[in-house]
């Protein structure tokens, strides 16, 4: 039940992964325990450091979903412009691409 699953090229073994996870977890916990222990809860150590500036309202320091991966989207702007335009939301596009795909496959398979 917990044995190795052979894929033909390699294998997946949940037991080995679990063992590795436990060992890595134990090592990480031990390393962490070796660190400084002068943290005091409820003091200024709890305050967020915001480059020396006054901390804005907590809701203003969140990154909204539409801004996530801004750089990724900016770098791929030409690709995304085309891809988003492709998803026009018009029913003609929905049916059109369905029929184009059918026609293309028909030609390829019949020929």
């Amino acid at each position: 039940m917990f044995g190795s699953l052979f894929t033909g090229f390699g294998y997946w073994d949940f037991g080995s992964w679990l063992l590795f996870f436990i060992l890595a977890g134990a090592m990480t916990t031990w390393l962490r325990s070796q660190g400084r222990q002068d943290y005091k809860k409820g003091t200024e150590q709890d305050q967020i450091y915001f480059s020396g500036n006054e901390l804005p309202d907590s809701e203003e320091i969140t990154v909204p979903a539409s801004s996530s991966y801004w750089g990724f989207r900016k770098a791929l702007k030409p690709y995304y412009d085309k891809l988003v335009a492709f998803h026009s939301g018009q029913t003609v596009t929905y049916v059109g691409w369905f029929l184009v795909t059918t026609a293309l496959l028909m030609v390829l398979i019949i020929l």
Binding site: F14, A65, S68, V84, T91, Y94, F98
Partner: protein, 521 residues
């Protein structure tokens, strides 16, 4: 005769009975309707397990509707297949079990999720009708019967997608799905007409026995592939999917996910069990691989930039279906060569089937989580959410499991099926694995975004009084979470006892035909 021989028919009779009896039971009040819905879907789940067990011990189950024998023996001695049959083997019985789990999860989740809305009696009736259509698509062994169940599933889907009929977006999504679905239905009907005109047969096994790869058959195959690939959301025919999945209530979306997989089961039946080795050349497998690769990459590309949680998940459905299409394409490519089949073909088939099952569980759960977020916040816009992890610990926990599974993070089930697909597709061409890996990375990126924006960060003032969703909704999500954990903890057992027999049953066309026809027609 044991009652268990009637299991295939009961799998359809129970949800149909549920659909037509719910409006009557609902006269007894809200509680009666709720108990009845849970009872019907629980009985269905038990029956699906019994059917799986029956097939594992007795072999392929063939159920003849309305008669004792599948054939009519003519005076000339010719045994002619005239009856509608259900044919259940290791492949479709496994998918049916997972479908019933998803159906139960949707029922439990919907009990409180839709409490604030009217029309729940008709919702329940349509829900069970959709379940019956889904199971019919999975279990049938008859081409025309397949078309009938496709229509039952489609019509009930239209109603359920437009459940929030005061929202123009819901009506629009339902209309768009109806438009493309009806064109697909006509294509399926034409394809069946081509095959019937050529062979005078509608029984899948009988058609599979005599089929050639002539012009009429090629036209039929193209119509079937495109229509069913559209129904399961393959690029570039996928555009209805984010609309419909986003607008339907979450408890319905989980069932729509299963219905899309039922269409994929139909596609596999046509390609492997009806046509199979009759397919000449590599065009058909490469068509499936190409559709799969495009679906994976373009689907996930669109998902990364979405900020509406259910649309984001809808685009992920497109990309996940791509993995399966690619896996089945690779399996079909290897089918003509026993050595290739042994080297990577079977691994790919196993990966495809395991991914189908995994997809239903984690994607179903993700849609339920999206529904839970909508239930407490009243919005689907991630930009407006934040800091919900503290308020919704159970939902957060289950979201993390589902997100890790869909992203292919070990040790979750998504990782195992993706590993099988990566390694087998690499044997065909490394580019296939690269596209699959990049898709997986982008999947992780977009679910990190959902986690960060909805669950982490400072709490929003307007959600300071938010509480965890009601127990029945948590229970609905928990059903799928338990299945994900089971598939993740015991992948070796699942693959050797469920996935491998399913893959063998799918690629062994001779066994499929032999189980029904025995001595032939």
């Amino acid at each position: 005769m044991s009652w268990s021989v009637h299991l295939p028919a009961l799998m359809l009779a129970v949800p149909l009975f549920g659909a037509f009896s719910t409006p009557i039971v609902a006269l007894g009040g809200r509680r009666a309707r709720m108990i009845w819905s849970v009872l019907i879907s629980s009985v269905l789940l038990v029956l699906s397990f019994c059917l799986l067990q029956y097939v594992a011990t007795e072999g392929t189950a063939v159920y003849v509707m309305g008669g004792k024998a599948w054939n009519l023996t003519l005076p000339s001695g010719m045994a002619y297949p005239v009856r509608i049959i259900l044919e259940v083997d290791s492949f479709n019985s496994f998918i049916a079990v997972i479908g019933c789990f998803a159906s139960l999860a949707g029922v439990l989740f919907g009990l409180r999720f839709l409490d604030r809305f009217s029309g729940k009696i008709w919702y329940s009736a349509l829900y069970f009708l959709l379940t019956a259509g889904m199971l019919g698509l999975i279990l049938t062994g008859d081409l025309f019967n397949f078309f009938v169940f496709l229509e039952i599933a489609s019509v009930s889907s239209f109603g359920l997608i437009a459940y929030w009929r005061d929202r123009p977006e819901s009506i629009e999504a339902s209309f768009k799905y109806m438009l493309v679905s009806q064109i697909a239905a006509m294509m399926v009907l034409l394809a069946i007409g081509f095959l019937y005109g050529r062979y005078n047969l509608l029984n899948m096994a009988a058609v599979g026995k005599v089929i050639q790869f002539g012009l009429a058959e090629k036209v039929a195959l193209v119509f079937m592939i495109t229509a069913l690939a559209m129904k399961c959301g393959a690029f570039p025919m996928h555009m209805w999917m984010p609309d419909a999945y986003a607008e339907a209530p979450a408890s319905v979306t989980v069932l729509l996910v299963v219905v899309s997989q039922a269409s994929l089961v139909g596609l596999c039946r046509i390609v492997f069990s009806v046509f199979g080795s009759a397919i000449v050349g590599d065009v058909v497998p490469w068509a499936l691989i190409t559709l799969g690769m495009m679906s994976m990459f373009f689907g996930v590309s669109m998902a990364v930039v979405q900020h509406e949680v259910k649309r984001l998940m809808g685009y992920h459905s497109v990309s996940q279906v791509g993995y399966m299409l690619m896996a089945f394409g690779v399996g079909l490519l290897a089918m003509g060569d026993p050595r290739q089949m042994a080297d990577f073909g079977m691994t790919s088939m196993k990966g495809g089937i395991f991914h189908m099952v995994n997809y239903v569980t984690y994607k179903g759960l993700l849609f339920l989580v999206a529904g839970a977020l909508y239930y407490v916040t009243g919005t689907r816009d991630l930009d407006k959410m934040g800091g919900l992890a503290k308020r919704m610990p159970f939902t957060t926990f289950m979201f993390v499991i589902a997100a890790a599974a869909i992203s292919g993070i070990p040790p979750f089930n998504g990782f195992v099926s993706k590993l099988l697909i990566y390694e087998s597709s690499f044997a065909v061409h490394p580019a296939l694995s690269v596209v699959a890996l990049v898709t997986s990375i982008l999947t992780l990126a977009s679910f990190v975004k959902v986690f960060q924006t909805a669950f982490l960060g400072p709490e929003k003032k307007e959600f300071s009084k938010v509480k965890e969703v009601p127990a029945s909704m948590v229970l609905g999500m928990a059903v799928l979470t338990v299945v994900i954990l089971g598939l993740s903890l015991f992948p070796t057992w699942v693959v050797s006892h469920l996935v491998e027999p399913a893959a063998t049953a799918l690629v062994d066309k001779g066994a499929y035909i032999g189980a029904v026809l025995g001595g032939g027609i």
